[in-house]
C-alpha cells in the first residue's frame, strides 16, 4: 500500500517537474534567421537566389511566358486580350505580387549587409553580393515600371507595420531614377567579367548593358509617349534627351569592353548562313550542323544557364507551346528584307505570294530561322479555320531544338535575357534618336554586324537614300526581326515608339489571298472560313492586295491607355492612396 502510494506520488511529481521537456523544443532541421548572415558565403547564397527572378522559360512563382514572347502583338497570330485592348482590371496581378516578393528578399539582403558591417564584418567581402542585390532591385523595379508605369518604390525591408504598404505611387520618373542609381551601384560593385564557373552571373558590363536598355526605353518613352500614360499626380518631367544620350555612351562602353561578340559562324559553309537559327538552341555538338557547342557563344550578356547533363533543363512546354501557338501574321513575314537589304516592296528579289513558299526565296535568313519549319518548297499550306489558338498556318521555330536534339521540357540550351546584338541595336537607335543621323561607320560597328549574320546586304546611308527608305524605320525593323520573341522586346518597343496604338488596333492580317493559290484552290482555303472578311488594300510586298483578316479591328479597341496594365483592384481597394492608371 505504501509502496503504491509512493510510486503514484513519485510519478505525479516527475510529471509536474518536467513541463519544459515537452514545451521548450527547438527547431531540429532548419537554421533560423537570427543566426544566419554571419558569413560572406551566406550573402553569396542569398544573392544567388535572386536569379530565379529573371524571367525565363522555366517560370518561377507562376509567371507566364507572355512576359518573354511577342504573343498578342501584330506579329503573332496568338491573340491576347491585352493585345486587342479588351482586357479588364483584375483582382490580382501575378507580376505585381511577384515583383514585390522579389524586392523584399533583395532588401532583406541589403539590410542584413548593413547589420553585418555594423557588427564589424568586412564590407569588401560581401561587396559583390550587395552589388548583385542592387542589380536585381533595379531589374524588378524596371519590370514593374514596364507593366504599370509608376509604382510604389520599395527600398527597405517591408513589414506589416511599414508605412510604405499604404504609400502612394512613385512617378515613373522617380522609379527610373531609382533604377538607374541601383544600376550604378551594381556596375561599381560587380566584377568586370562573369565567365567560367561564374557564367550566368551578372557582371559589371552586363549591368551596364542592362542600363543601356533602361535608358533607351525610358528616353524614347518620354520622347514619344510623353506623359500620356502617367497617372494623375505624377508630375511632368522630360529626361529623354539626357537618357538617349546616356544610352549611346553606355552601349558604346559595353561595345568597347570587347567582352562580347556576335556569334557568327557563317564562315563555316556547313552553317549555310544560318548562324542565327542555331544560336537559340545551342547546346552540344549535335545541336547544330556545325558541331558548335555552348562554349563558342559569348554573345549572351545576361542569361539563364541550363544543363541537360544535370537535368537542370527548361522543364516547361515553352518551345512546344510557342511552336503550336505563336504563328506569324502576314505583317511579321513581310518585315524581313530581301537579301539585297531592301524591304520587299522595294526589292526586285521578292518573288511574291503566288505560292506560300515563294515568300521565303532570297530573304533575310532570320525569316527562315524563325518560321521556316513547316514550309514546303513550292507549296502552300492550307489555311485553317480561324480561332484564337491556331493563328496562321506557320509556326514559330525560334528556341526549338534541331533534329529532335532534345525532347520538349528537356532542352538545356542557355536562355538569353539580353545579348550583344541588342546592345548594338541600342547603340544605333539611340545614336540616330540623338543626332537624327548615323554614319556608315557607326552602322558598320552595330546594325551591320547583325545583318551580316543574316546574310543581308549592309544598311548604308546610300541604300537608304537611293531607295527612299527611312533610316529610323530600318533600324527599328532590324530590332523587330533580330529580337523577335525575346524578353518582350517588341512589346516594349511598340509602346515606347508609340506605334502600338495604330498597329494593334488595326485588322490582324493572316495571309495575302489575292494573286495566291489561296484564291484559286479551294482545298487550300475555303472562303467561307473568312468569318472576319478581307482587307482589300493590305500594303503587301506587291502593293495593296486583298488579305485575310484573322482578327478584325472591330475586336481591337486597343489604344494608348493599354500601354500600361491597370493596377490590380485588390491593391487599390486596400490602399486607397493608389491612383489607377488613366483610362482604367
Amino acid at each position: 500500500m505504501k509502496k503504491i502510494i509512493s510510486l503514484f506520488s513519485a510519478v505525479f511529481l516527475l510529471l509536474v517537474s518536467c513541463e519544459d521537456t515537452f514545451l521548450d523544443l527547438q527547431d531540429l532541421d532548419s537554421v533560423t534567421e537570427q543566426v544566419y548572415f554571419d558569413d560572406p558565403q551566406n550573402f553569396e547564397d542569398a544573392a544567388n537566389r535572386f536569379y530565379r527572378g529573371l524571367h525565363s522559360p522555366s517560370p518561377t512563382m507562376n509567371d507566364g511566358w507572355d512576359m518573354i514572347t511577342d504573343y498578342g502583338t501584330e506579329l503573332s497570330g496568338r491573340i491576347q486580350d491585352y493585345g486587342q485592348g479588351v482586357n479588364t482590371a483584375t483582382d490580382e496581378d501575378i507580376y505585381w505580387n511577384n515583383g514585390y516578393t522579389y524586392l523584399r528578399e533583395i532588401n532583406l539582403l541589403l539590410q542584413k549587409a548593413e547589420e553585418y558591417v555594423a557588427d564589424g564584418g568586412d564590407a569588401s567581402e560581401i561587396r559583390e553580393s550587395i552589388a548583385t542585390a542592387h542589380f536585381f532591385r533595379a531589374y524588378q523595379h524596371f519590370r514593374l515600371l514596364k507593366r504599370f508605369g509608376g509604382i510604389p518604390l520599395v527600398t527597405e525591408v517591408t513589414n506589416v507595420d511599414s508605412e510604405i504598404l499604404f504609400a502612394p505611387r512613385n512617378s515613373r520618373y522617380e522609379v527610373v531614377e531609382q533604377v538607374l542609381s541601383d544600376l550604378d551601384l551594381a556596375i561599381a560593385g560587380l566584377p568586370q567579367t562573369a565567365t567560367g564557373a561564374n557564367l550566368g552571373k551578372i557582371s559589371s558590363i552586363a549591368a551596364m548593358a542592362y542600363k543601356a536598355r533602361v535608358l533607351l526605353f525610358e528616353g524614347t518613352w518620354e520622347k514619344y509617349v510623353g506623359t500620356a500614360t502617367d497617372f494623375e499626380g505624377s508630375g511632368t518631367e522630360d529626361n529623354s534627351v539626357a537618357y538617349i544620350a546616356a544610352a549611346v555612351t553606355t552601349a558604346k562602353a559595353v561595345m568597347d569592353s570587347g567582352q562580347f561578340a556576335i556569334w557568327n559562324q557563317n564562315a563555316d559553309p556547313i552553317m549555310e548562313n544560318n548562324s542565327y537559327r542555331w544560336l537559340f538552341s545551342l547546346e552540344g555538338a549535335e545541336s547544330n550542323p556545325g558541331g558548335y557547342t555552348k562554349a563558342s557563344n559569348n554573345e549572351f550578356i545576361i542569361q539563364t544557364i541550363y544543363d541537360f547533363g544535370t537535368q537542370n533543363t527548361i522543364n516547361s512546354l515553352f518551345t512546344q507551346i510557342n511552336f503550336g501557338r505563336n504563328s506569324p501574321t502576314q505583317v511579321a513575314l513581310d518585315m524581313y528584307v530581301s537579301d539585297d537589304g531592301l524591304p520587299i516592296d522595294k526589292s526586285p528579289l521578292f518573288q511574291g505570294y503566288a505560292v506560300q513558299s515563294d515568300q521565303f526565296i532570297d530573304r533575310d535568313r532570320r525569316m527562315w530561322a524563325n518560321f521556316g519549319e513547316l514550309v514546303l518548297e513550292g507549296e502552300s499550306l492550307p489555311i485553317l479555320a480561324i480561332t484564337a489558338e491556331s493563328g496562321t498556318n506557320l509556326s514559330n521555330w525560334k528556341f526549338t531544338t534541331w533534329n529532335n536534339y532534345r525532347v520538349v521540357r528537356t532542352e538545356g540550351y542557355n536562355y538569353p535575357h539580353l545579348r550583344y546584338a541588342e546592345v548594338l541595336l541600342i547603340y544605333a537607335e539611340a545614336l540616330y534618336e540623338r543626332d537624327g543621323s548615323i554614319s556608315d561607320s557607326d552602322l558598320n560597328i552595330s546594325v551591320n554586324l547583325v545583318r551580316d549574320r543574316a546574310a543581308v546586304a549592309p544598311l548604308t546611308n546610300a541604300l537608304v537614300s537611293a531607295n527612299g527608305l527611312d533610316m529610323l524605320e530600318e533600324i527599328r525593323r532590324e530590332r523587330t526581326v533580330e529580337l523577335y520573341m525575346e524578353d518582350n522586346n517588341h512589346w516594349n518597343d511598340i509602346r515606347r515608339w508609340d506605334t502600338a496604338k495604330d498597329l494593334l488596333s488595326d485588322d490582324l492580317i493572316g495571309y495575302v489571298i489575292e494573286g495566291s493559290e489561296y484564291e484559286t484552290d479551294s482545298s487550300l482555303f475555303d472562303s467561307s472560313n473568312a468569318i472576319f472578311g478581307f482587307k482589300e488594300d493590305y500594303p503587301s510586298g506587291v502593293g495593296p492586295v486583298r488579305a485575310l483578316i484573322i482578327d478584325p479591328s472591330s475586336n481591337r479597341p486597343y489604344n494608348q491607355k493599354n500601354y500600361l496594365w491597370p493596377l490590380p483592384i485588390n491593391e487599390t481597394v486596400i490602399n486607397t492612396n493608389l491612383v489607377q492608371n488613366p483610362g482604367w
Binding site: 503514484f8 521537456t21 531540429l28 534567421e33 544567388n48 510604389p152 506589416v160 544557364i305 491556331s390
Partner: protein, 1086 residues
C-alpha cells in the same frame, strides 16, 4: 490475362480458407477443454486466493420473447468478479456463499439482483428496458452513466462495424451519428481521401475531430481508419462543451474509440468475408462514335463550325466509328498529321470488377482477476483498376489485457500492431487517366506495342498504369498502452497512464520510361522521359503520459465526482527522403539501383523535411455534481501549453459548464404513463483549434535551394528567409453553446433527442490582407471570426412481437457557417470562393442567367445593350446565337462582367448560389429480426449541396482539346428542343465558356439517398449449433453502396461533393469510378 488473375484471386482465397480451417481445428481442440464443466483446473491456475464453494448454473432469457440473452453480465455484488452468459444464455459461476447476491444485467434489460440461496440453478428472465439510461457511456478521461450526462455525446454501437463490406472504419461510421459528417472524395481503397467533420466547419484552416483510442489521442487519422473494425467496442462522439476536456484540440469535436476487452469464459470468434466490387457509376465519357457525334452536333449549331485540330473529315470518321489513318491539322502529329485512330474505350480498358476479403479471429475471456482479448485481422481491398493492382492490404494484431494485481490495483496492458500496405501504379493517374485524351487511341498498335496517343506518344494511361512503375507505401504502427489504476479508498482513486506509439513508414515510388510507338511500330516517345525512383522513410513516435486523481462520493442524494489530472505528450518526427534520376527497370526497385543524380525531388515535395518534434502539456479537471440524478452540473477546466508557440504565449485555458435536468424524475411527471425519459441539457464550453500552426512558426527559418551557374553547369547554393513570422499568435479560441433535449416514450419504444448549437471561432487564424507591396505572406494572426449554427435530431422506434422485432432509426443534422470577419476578406468573383466575409466558407458565386435566347432579335437586342467596352459578351467566332445563355446585368451597370470595382466587394453580375458543404445530412437505419434471420438496411444521404464542376470534363467544349462529357446529351437546346434547360452545343470555346463557366445553370443542387448498407443474416438455431459444439454460426450477405437516387445529372458520385473533374494531377480527384460492393460472410463463435 484477366481470367488468370481472377483464378489467382480465387486460389489465394482458397489458401486463406484452408489456413483458417486449420486455425479453427486447433481452436476447437481448445474449446473441448473450455466447454468441459469439470475442467476447473484451468480456473484454479488463474484464481489465486478466492475460495469458491458453490457453483451456480443457469440460463438468462428475455421476458419479452423468451429467447436466451447472450453476453449478459453475471456479477457477484460488491466485487468485480463475474462472468457472462454464452450464446445460449447459459452461465456458470462460482460464488463464495449462499448469501452472495448476483447481479444479472445486459444492455437493453433492467438488471436484476438475486440472492443465491440454496439453489444451484438460477434461471433469470430479464425485463426488457430499451431505455439506455443505464448504459455506460465513454466520456473524456472516464465513463459516465447516460442518465447523468449533461453533454451532447453520441455513442455508436459496434454493430455498425459488423458484417460491413468495407474495411475502413470511417466509412462504416458514415451517417451513423448526426452531426458527424464523413466525406470521401474517391472510392479508391487506401486512397479515399476521407474528411471527418463534427458539426460543420470550425475554421477556414480546416481541422478535423480529435480521435482518442483507449484514452490516448490517435497518432493520426489513419491509425483509426485502418483499425480492425472487429476490435471496436464503442465509439463516442463528443460534440459540445463536453469536448472541452480535450482543450486545445477539441474545437472540432472528439471521437473516443474504445476497444473490446475479454469477458466471461474463453470464446473464440471467427469472421470471414469475401467481397466483390463492381463499377457503380460510369463517368460521362464518350465512345469514339459519341465523341465524333458531339463535334458534329456542335458544328450544326455553330455559325462558324470548329473542329479543332481534327478537321471535319476526321470528326465524321469518328462518328462513323471508322478505324483508320486520319489526316489531322498539326503536321507534327503522327506522319505529317496522319494519325491512326480507332474506337478505344479507355474506361472499359481500365476498369472492371475486383475482389477483396476480410478475416478476423479473436480469442477472449476472463478469470476473476484477469481479462484478455487477442485479435488478429487481415483484409485486402482493391479498387476498380484492371490494368494493375491498386489496393490496400491490412494486417492487425491487438492484445488487450488487464490484471488485478491486488484487490485495489489494476494493471492494463494493451498492445496493438498494424501493418498497411498500399500499392498503386505511380503513373497514369490524374487527368491523363480518361479525362484528357479523346477515346480514339487504341492502347496498342498491331505490333502489340504501346500506341502513343496522337502518334506522337507521351501519354497512354493503359501503358502508364500497367508498366509505368509503382507507388508502394508500407506503414507499420505499434502502440503500447499501460494503465495503473489504484483504488485508494474513501471514494478516491488514482490512475497513471502511458502510451507509446511508433510508426514506421516507407514509401517507394518509381517511374519507368514506358516507350510508346506509332502505328507502324516506330518509337515515338515514352510515358516519362525522366525515370526516377524515390524512397521516403518516416519514423514517428508519439508518447503520452497522464496522471489522474478521481473522487466519487455520494452524501445522501448529493453525488459528487471530481477528476483532476496532468497529461503530457510528445511527438517526434524524422524523415529521410531520397530521389534519384536515371532509374532503369531491371526488376530491382531500390533507390540504390538508379544511376542518376540525387536530387531533392523538386519543390513540390513537402515531405522531404528532416525532423521535428513538438509537445503538449496540460492540466485538467472535471467536477460533476448531481442531486438525486435529477439536477446535474458539470464543470470542466483545462490549461494547455504547447511547444508551437513563443515563450510567453505557450499556455491557454479552456473550460465548460453544462447542466442537465431529468424532468421525468420530477414528482409531477412520476405518474405520466409512457414517459420514460425527458431530459433537458445545456452547455457552454471553450476549446481550441491548432490547425495551421507549424511546430516553430514563431521563428523565421532559412530555406535553401540551388541555382545553376557556370560553363559546366554547376549547382550553387541559394538561401532565403522563409516568410514573415509573428510571436504573438495562439490557438483559435472556439466557444460552443448547446441546448438539447432527450426523451423516451411508450415504454422506451420511441426515443429521440434534439440538439441545437452555436459555435463561434473568435480567434480564427487568418491572413490579414495587406497590400502586396508587403512582398511576403503576412503571418496568420488570430483576427478572424467564424460562426456556425446547426441542429441535430434523432428519432428511434423499436417494436416487435413474439419472434419478430424491428427498429427504425432516423437522424438528421444541418450546420451553417458564416465568415463574420476576415480582416479585409476577398473580393467576390464568379466561381468557388473559399473565404468571403459575410458568406459561408466555400461559397459559390455564379452568373445569374435568365433563360436562353429564342430569337435572333433577342440576341441582337442583347448585344446592342451589353456588348460594350469592358463587357465579357463574346464576339467574333464566339458571338452569341439563338440557344445561348442570357446573363443578367445584375448590377445594372450596362455591361456583363463578373467584377465591378465600384461594388463593395468588387462583384459584378454574380450572385451567391450556395456553399459546398452538404446540408440536411441524414441517416435511416432499418433493422429487423425474426428467429434466426436478421436484416439491416442503412440509407444515408443529404438534401442539399451546391456542386459546381471544374476541369476538362465539366461541360462540352469548354476545353476543346481533351475528351468531352456526354452528361448533357439530349438536354441541350436545339431548334427542335427549345424548352431545354441547358444551352445549345457549341465548339467555340469562348462561347462554351460563356454558357458554362460559373453560370447558375451549371451549378447543381446535389441531393441523394443511398443504400449504404444492406445486411441479411441467418444464424443457425441453437439446437443445431449445440450439436456442432459451437456458440454461434451465422452466414450473411452484405452490400455496400448498392444503389442511390441522386439529383446530380453528370454521373458523378454524389458523395464526392465538389470533386473537380480532373483539373489537376491529384490522383484521388481524377476520374476513378465509383464502386459498389457485395459480400458474403460467415461469423463463427465457440
Amino acid at each position: 490475362m484477366n481470367t488468370i488473375k481472377n483464378y489467382q484471386t480465387i486460389l489465394k482465397y482458397m489458401a486463406g480458407l484452408l489456413g483458417i480451417l486449420s486455425f479453427l481445428c486447433s481452436g476447437m481442440h481448445t474449446s473441448l477443454y473450455a466447454s468441459d464443466p469439470d475442467a476447473n483446473w484451468k480456473n484454479s491456475i488463474l484464481n489465486i486466493e478466492v475460495t469458491q464453494d458453490l457453483t451456480i448454473k443457469g440460463t438468462v432469457i428475455s421476458s419479452d420473447d423468451g429467447l436466451p440473452v447472450p453476453a449478459a453480465n453475471v456479477i457477484v455484488k460488491g466485487t468485480t468478479s463475474g462472468t457472462t452468459t454464452d450464446f445460449d444464455g447459459n452461465y456458470t459461476i462460482n460464488v463464495p456463499s449462499e448469501n452472495t447476491v448476483l447481479i444479472f444485467s445486459s444492455i437493453g434489460f433492467t438488471s436484476q439482483e438475486i440472492t443465491v440461496g440454496t439453489n444451484n440453478t438460477i434461471n433469470v428472465s430479464l425485463e426488457t428496458d430499451v431505455s439506455e439510461l443505464d448504459e455506460v457511456v465513454v466520456v473524456g478521461y472516464g465513463t459516465a452513466k447516460k442518465e447523468t450526462l449533461t453533454g451532447s455525446i453520441e455513442q455508436v454501437k459496434p454493430e455498425v462495424f459488423e458484417s460491413r463490406a468495407v474495411t475502413n472504419v470511417a466509412l462504416a461510421l458514415q451517417g451513423q451519428s448526426p452531426g458527424l459528417v464523413i466525406n470521401r472524395s474517391a472510392s479508391r481503397p487506401g486512397n479515399e481521401d476521407i474528411n471527418l467533420q463534427i458539426r460543420g466547419a470550425t475554421s477556414v484552416n480546416g481541422g478535423s475531430p480529435l480521435i482518442v483510442i483507449d484514452g490516448a489521442p490517435a497518432f493520426d487519422d489513419s491509425e483509426f481508419f485502418q483499425m480492425n473494425p472487429d476490435d471496436i467496442e464503442s465509439i463516442s462522439v463528443l460534440k459540445d462543451g463536453a469536448a472541452s476536456i480535450y482543450g486545445s484540440r477539441a474545437a472540432n469535436g472528439v471521437i473516443l474509440v474504445t476497444t473490446k476487452k475479454g469477458r466471461g469464459k474463453m470464446k473464440v470468434e471467427f469472421n470471414t468475408m469475401i467481397r466483390a466490387n463492381f463499377i457503380g457509376l460510369n463517368p460521362p465519357v464518350p465512345t469514339m462514335q459519341q465523341y465524333g457525334q458531339l463535334w458534329l452536333d456542335a458544328a450544326e449549331q455553330d455559325a462558324v463550325p470548329n473542329y479543332w485540330n481534327w478537321g471535319e473529315e476526321t470528326v465524321r470518321g469518328f462518328a462513323a466509328g471508322e478505324a483508320r489513318f486520319y489526316q489531322t491539322l498539326p503536321a507534327v502529329w503522327g506522319y505529317d498529321g496522319l494519325v491512326y485512330m480507332a474506337p478505344a474505350n479507355r474506361f472499359d480498358e481500365l476498369y472492371g470488377s475486383n475482389f477483396g476479403r476480410q478475416n478476423t479471429l479473436s480469442i477472449s475471456g476472463s478469470s476473476d482477476q484477469a481479462r484478455y482479448r487477442l485479435s488478429i485481422g487481415e483484409s485486402e481491398s482493391q479498387g476498380a483498376l484492371k490494368t494493375a493492382y491498386d489496393g490496400i492490404k491490412q494486417y492487425s494484431v491487438r492484445l488487450n489485457s488487464d490484471y488485478d494485481v491486488t484487490e485495489k490495483l489494476n494493471l492494463t496492458a494493451n498492445i496493438a500492431l498494424q501493418k498497411n500496405i498500399t500499392s498503386s501504379p505511380s503513373q497514369g493517374f490524374g487527368r491523363t487517366l480518361v479525362a484528357q485524351d479523346a477515346p480514339v487511341f487504341p492502347s496498342k498498335n498491331p505490333q502489340g506495342q504501346w500506341y502513343g496517343n496522337f502518334g506522337i506518344g507521351g501519354t497512354n494511361s493503359v501503358a502508364a498504369t500497367s508498366e509505368g512503375g509503382r507507388d508502394n507505401l508500407e506503414e507499420n504502427l505499434a502502440k503500447l498502452t499501460l494503465n495503473l489504476n489504484y483504488d485508494i479508498g474513501y471514494g478516491f482513486s488514482a490512475m497513471l497512464n502511458g502510451t507509446y506509439n511508433h510508426v514506421n513508414s516507407r514509401r517507394d515510388v518509381y517511374n519507368i520510361a514506358v516507350p510508346t510507338y506509332n502505328w507502324n511500330g516506330e518509337l515515338v516517345n515514352a510515358v516519362t522521359n525522366n525515370p526516377t525512383i524515390s524512397a521516403l522513410h518516416i519514423t514517428k513516435s508519439y508518447q503520452t503520459y497522464g496522471g489522474f486523481l478521481n473522487y466519487d462520493k455520494s452524501f445522501g442524494k448529493h453525488n459528487f465526482g471530481v477528476m483532476a489530472g496532468i497529461t503530457a505528450e510528445k511527438n517526434d518526427f524524422k524523415a529521410l527522403y531520397g530521389h534519384r534520376t536515371g532509374f532503369v527497370d531491371e526488376g530491382v526497385y531500390d533507390i540504390l539501383v538508379a544511376t542518376g543524380v540525387q536530387t531533392n525531388g523538386g519543390a513540390n515535395n513537402n515531405n522531404n523535411r528532416g525532423q521535428d518534434h513538438e509537445g503538449l502539456f496540460s492540466y485538467l479537471t472535471r467536477i460533476n455534481y448531481d442531486y438525486d440524478e435529477k439536477y446535474l452540473v458539470e464543470l470542466v477546466g483545462r490549461r494547455d501549453g504547447s511547444s508551437r508557440f513563443a515563450p510567453g504565449f505557450k499556455f491557454n485555458n479552456y473550460g465548460s459548464v453544462s447542466v442537465g435536468w431529468n424532468v421525468h424524475k420530477e414528482k409531477f411527471l412520476e405518474n405520466v404513463d409512457g414517459l420514460n425519459n425527458l431530459k433537458i441539457r445545456a452547455s457552454i464550453g471553450s476549446s481550441g483549434n491548432q490547425v495551421g500552426i507549424g511546430p516553430y512558426d514563431y521563428v523565421s527559418t532559412i530555406a535553401t535551394g540551388t541555382e545553376l551557374f557556370g560553363e559546366g553547369g554547376t549547382l550553387s547554393p541559394t538561401a532565403w528567409v522563409s516568410g514573415l513570422t509573428t510571436t504573438t499568435r495562439s490557438w483559435e479560441d472556439v466557444v460552443m453553446k448547446n441546448i438539447g433535449i432527450d426523451f423516451a416514450l411508450f415504454n422506451n419504444k420511441l426515443s429521440g433527442s434534439f440538439d441545437t448549437y452555436e459555435r463561434k471561432n473568435n480567434g480564427m487564424l487568418v491572413n490579414v490582407t495587406y497590400p502586396e507591396v508587403l512582398g511576403a505572406e503576412a503571418p496568420e494572426t488570430n483576427s478572424g471570426n467564424l460562426e456556425t449554427t446547426g441542429w441535430e435530431a434523432v428519432l428511434n422506434w423499436r417494436g416487435g412481437k413474439n419472434d419478430f422485432s424491428y427498429n427504425i432509426g432516423l437522424n438528421m443534422s444541418d450546420s451553417n457557417n458564416m465568415l463574420v470577419n476576415l480582416e479585409g476578406g476577398n473580393a467576390i468573383q464568379a466561381g468557388l470562393r473559399r473565404t468571403v466575409e459575410g458568406y459561408p466558407l466555400n461559397s459559390y458565386f455564379a452568373w445569374e442567367t435568365d433563360g436562353l435566347f429564342q430569337t435572333q432579335a433577342e440576341v441582337d437586342a442583347y448585344n446592342a445593350q451589353y456588348a460594350g467596352d469592358g463587357s465579357e459578351v463574346p464576339t467574333g467566332a464566339s458571338a452569341l446565337r439563338i440557344g445561348d445563355l442570357r446573363k443578367v446585368d445584375l448590377d445594372g451597370n450596362g455591361v456583363i462582367n463578373d467584377q465591378n470595382p465600384d461594388a463593395e466587394k468588387g462583384q459584378g453580375d454574380v450572385k451567391f448560389v450556395g456553399d459546398a458543404q452538404a446540408h440536411y445530412v441524414f441517416g435511416i437505419n432499418l433493422g429487423a429480426k425474426y428467429k434466426g434471420f436478421d436484416f439491416t438496411a442503412f440509407f444515408q444521404g443529404h438534401l442539399e449541396q451546391t456542386v459546381y464542376r471544374n476541369g476538362v470534363l465539366q461541360a462540352p467544349f469548354v476545353f476543346p482539346w481533351p475528351n468531352q462529357t456526354v452528361a448533357y446529351n439530349g438536354q441541350q437546346w436545339t431548334p427542335e428542343n427549345t424548352s431545354a434547360t441547358y444551352p445549345r452545343l457549341t465548339a467555340q470555346t469562348g462561347l462554351a465558356r460563356w454558357n458554362w463557366f460559373e453560370t447558375d445553370i451549371a451549378a447543381q443542387n446535389s441531393k441523394y439517398v443511398r443504400l449504404k448498407t444492406l445486411v441479411i443474416g441467418y444464424s443457425l438455431p441453437s439446437d443445431v449449433i449445440n450439436k456442432l459444439n459451437l456458440d454461434k454460426l451465422r452466414i450473411y450477405f452484405s452490400g455496400n453502396d448498392l444503389f442511390e437516387f441522386t439529383s446530380l445529372i453528370d454521373g458523378q458520385d454524389p458523395e464526392s461533393g465538389v470533386t473537380p473533374l480532373s483539373t489537376d494531377t491529384n490522383i484521388n480527384r481524377s476520374i476513378y469510378p465509383f464502386q459498389r460492393t457485395i459480400a458474403i460472410g460467415l461469423n463463427l463463435a465457440f
